[in-house]
Symmetry: C2
Subunit: 215 residues, 2 copies
């Protein structure tokens, strides 16, 4: 009946690295099993994951890793990532990789153990790095919106990446980074709202299957 | 005459972050201007680059950034990245993102200023992290080679990424990481050789245009 392969997305019961793939499948109406792991099950299954980490995506019984690869695959199946328009795909990929680049720059501010150094790294992110990347993405969206394919009300995987990014910045779980840091960027906000207000967005998602250890 | 847009790839006169896009265009027979910048020209032009950094790719006069986005775009134009086969693209993307993940893990070993700490970080890379990623990529290639599209002698952008990665590991420019670290992985080696021995590979590339500051 379905033309889609049999899909199962496996991750912890949080958003973070699986949120974008999950949303792409859901918004695109692609059926998938949304499996959530507890820590014991993860530890037991770890050797079977290609990179020893989650999220993983099972496609007709074959397991794949790498969240950005999974998001692009979901985007292709869900028709949220134009496969026959290299220039539109370039514009989308530039946004995805730009956000990933910022995420990598944030890693040291999470890893740092010294409280004073950690605070300084986070203040640098809040006052310089994050606003700089928000300004760049805003400016790129301004340039890209002239391109017909991207002018529509349709959601693309770049909108989903922006939504997940802005949502995490507003969640308030990173000390010293104000929840208002992403406010005041109209096109970033428009991308965020396009996903937040989509009839098949997060709030409408069915609750997930929590896969618990049988031990 | 040409169906391709007018393309100009701009980077410093080194390989590093532009090597894969450059090779994809060259192997695919896609005409492009291979512009190399000296440092003064970079500084003068920096405000015009979308993320304030190079490489950048000009497409019919519009400037784009993000090396991974550029590689995928080059792969689409050069027919080295399947656009109508989501599963083949997933396999290719998983390899690309896996190598990028390792590259990010190598950053602290370059940034560390304390010589003893730097040495230890690099020994950890040489003895643990790099062999671990090489084993994973080897194992993923073993799984992927069963897939018809990827069984051919054709080069894909994942082979180009493996080539550039292994070439940099063998270049000997990273103290404490032996140049033999990537030896002994037969499928990684086969990908490397497929690109190294391609009639349009590196050694056959015409010398680049060095764009010098006019000041």
């Amino acid at each position: 009946m379905s033309n889609y392969p049999k899909l199962k997305l496996t991750y912890f019961p949080v958003e973070v690295r699986a949120a974008t793939t999950r949303l792409a499948f859901y918004i695109g109406g692609v059926p998938f099993v949304d499996e959530r792991l507890d820590h014991d099950t993860f530890t037991a299954n770890k050797p079977t994951y290609p990179f020893g980490q989650v999220p993983v995506l099972e496609v007709d019984g074959h397991v794949f890793a790498q969240s950005q690869a999974m998001l692009r695959y979901a985007g292709r199946l869900a028709k949220l990532y134009p496969t026959n328009d290299p220039l539109a795909a370039l514009k989308i990929d530039e946004i995805l990789n730009g956000i990933e680049e910022l995420n990598e720059k944030m890693v040291p501010a999470f890893r740092e153990q010294d409280p004073e150094k950690k605070k300084q790294l986070r203040l640098d992110l809040a006052n310089d790095t994050i606003p700089r990347y928000l300004s760049i993405i805003e400016s790129r969206l301004k340039t890209h919106e002239k391109y017909a394919v991207l002018q529509t009300k349709d959601v693309h995987i770049s909108d989903i990446a922006i939504y997940a990014w802005v949502k995490s910045l507003r969640a308030g779980y990173i000390d010293h980074i104000p929840t208002t840091v992403a406010d005041g960027y109209p096109l970033v906000e428009a991308s965020f709202q396009k996903v937040a207000n989509h009839p098949k967005s997060w709030s409408g998602m069915p609750s997930s299957t929590l896969c618990q250890s049988s031990s």
